[in-house]
């Protein structure tokens, strides 16, 4: 009852304030000049990124250095998570010991197989079509990370490790992605351009589909980095609690 009263008071305050403010707030009908510049130039124009998707061209071209540093923050966050759960060699071996077993009824397994295949296809299309449709490396990678999570939930993590996707491999794939981003960012420097500049040496079109120059490379590598980084974290998170308490020496 007390909570309900608080809720109603908050709602009333919000309503009255918005009634009061609505006469003063200007209707937002026009674009900011900067946004208009991006819309005009993302495909046509002199400063073109050769991509009809204005958001992706901002992310990886006009404001590419921002994204480069945000990728660095992402890298640090994942590294921090991996460091918190650090295991030595024997413990890592023990964490892998276990049998994949299905605790859920049979149809769940079949549905999961189909869903995982669909998630992989959809996430790849989100990432690789990032320069044409809404999407890109970040979104595709986040969608990709759902697939191993689903496998862990249904078949336990040992199934994932028995099929070759263990923590080390996930970290290697993630490093390949981050290295690819760094190398693609450095290529324009060799040609006398600025770092992360979208230059004509990157393909603008393949098979009649606009590629947006370097955008498609960045999207692909970011897709690998985000997907594999989250997979590594999920693998660590799914180590059973009893094992972890044993590693830490907690007696409770």
């Amino acid at each position: 009852m007390k909570r309900l009263a608080g809720l109603i008071i908050v709602l009333l305050i919000v309503l009255t304030v918005s009634c009061y403010v609505s006469r003063m707030v200007p209707p937002q009908k026009n674009l900011h000049p900067l946004g208009e510049f991006y819309l005009q130039n993302s495909y046509f124009g002199r400063y073109s990124a050769k991509s009809p998707e204005a958001v992706t061209s901002i992310v990886w071209d006009y404001r590419g250095v921002d994204t480069l540093f945000e990728t660095a923050v992402f890298f640090l966050a994942i590294i921090g998570s991996l460091t918190l759960f650090r295991l030595n060699k024997g413990q890592a071996e023990e964490a892998k010991r276990g049998e994949p077993k299905l605790e859920l009824p049979g149809p769940v397994a079949t549905v999961t197989k189909v869903t995982v295949a669909m998630i992989l296809a959809v996430s790849a299309s989100i990432a690789l079509h990032g320069q044409l449709t809404p999407g890109g490396g970040f979104q595709g990678g986040s969608a990709l990370a759902v697939a191993p999570l689903l496998i862990i939930a249904v078949y336990t993590k040992y199934a994932l490790e028995k099929n070759g996707l263990d923590k080390t491999r996930a970290i290697i794939i993630r490093s390949i992605g981050l290295l690819g981003i760094a190398l693609t960012a450095l290529v324009p420097l060799l040609l006398g351009g600025y770092i992360m500049q979208n230059q004509p040496i990157f393909p603008a079109k393949a098979l009649g589909v606009p590629l947006g120059g370097s955008l498609v490379f960045y999207n692909f590598f970011e897709y690998l980095a985000v997907g594999a980084g989250f997979t590594a974290v999920f693998l660590l998170l799914s180590i059973p609690e009893e094992k972890f308490r044993k590693f830490l020496g907690v007696r409770r």
């Binding site: 403010v21 609505s22 209707p27 046509f44 998707e53 918190l84």
Partner: protein, 133 residues
């Protein structure tokens, strides 16, 4: 009427921001603090996207509908601002990674101390510092 709805959206988002800050500060449970923090981050992102919205009809996403120069003028007249969306896009994924890091830390705190109550963890740390246990 549209202006009323628009200002209602803005004010309710601001109210959500205030309430989530209250949640971060006042709740002793670390998990609840994390939930309030995610609500704060997501509300800030929605506010950012609203900055680029346009109160017109029709309004389209910032993606060229066709690759011809004739469509460009109409497109610029109706499309929303792409810049806030681009900034939010990366913020969402980075926010997720940082939240995973914080969640990991909370899981580890629970394993080591057996509680996620910030006050109890503080007491245990103080007792540890005095040399008891």
């Amino acid at each position: 009427m549209i202006l009323l709805l628009w200002s209602f959206t803005l004010i309710s988002l601001l109210a959500t921001l205030v309430i989530s800050v209250y949640g971060i500060v006042a709740k002793p449970n670390l998990v609840k603090k994390l939930i309030a923090l995610t609500i704060f981050g997501d509300t800030a992102n929605v506010l950012m996207v609203l900055l680029g919205y346009r109160l017109i009809y029709p309004v389209v996403p910032p993606i060229l509908p066709s690759l011809s120069k004739t469509a460009l003028g109409e497109f610029v007249k109706t499309a929303v601002d792409p810049l806030p969306q681009a900034l939010v896009l990366t913020a969402v994924v980075i926010g997720m990674a940082v939240n995973v890091l914080i969640a990991f830390a909370i899981v580890q705190v629970h394993r080591l101390y057996g509680t996620v109550d910030a006050r109890k963890v503080g007491e245990m740390l103080a007792a540890f510092g005095r040399g008891e246990k």
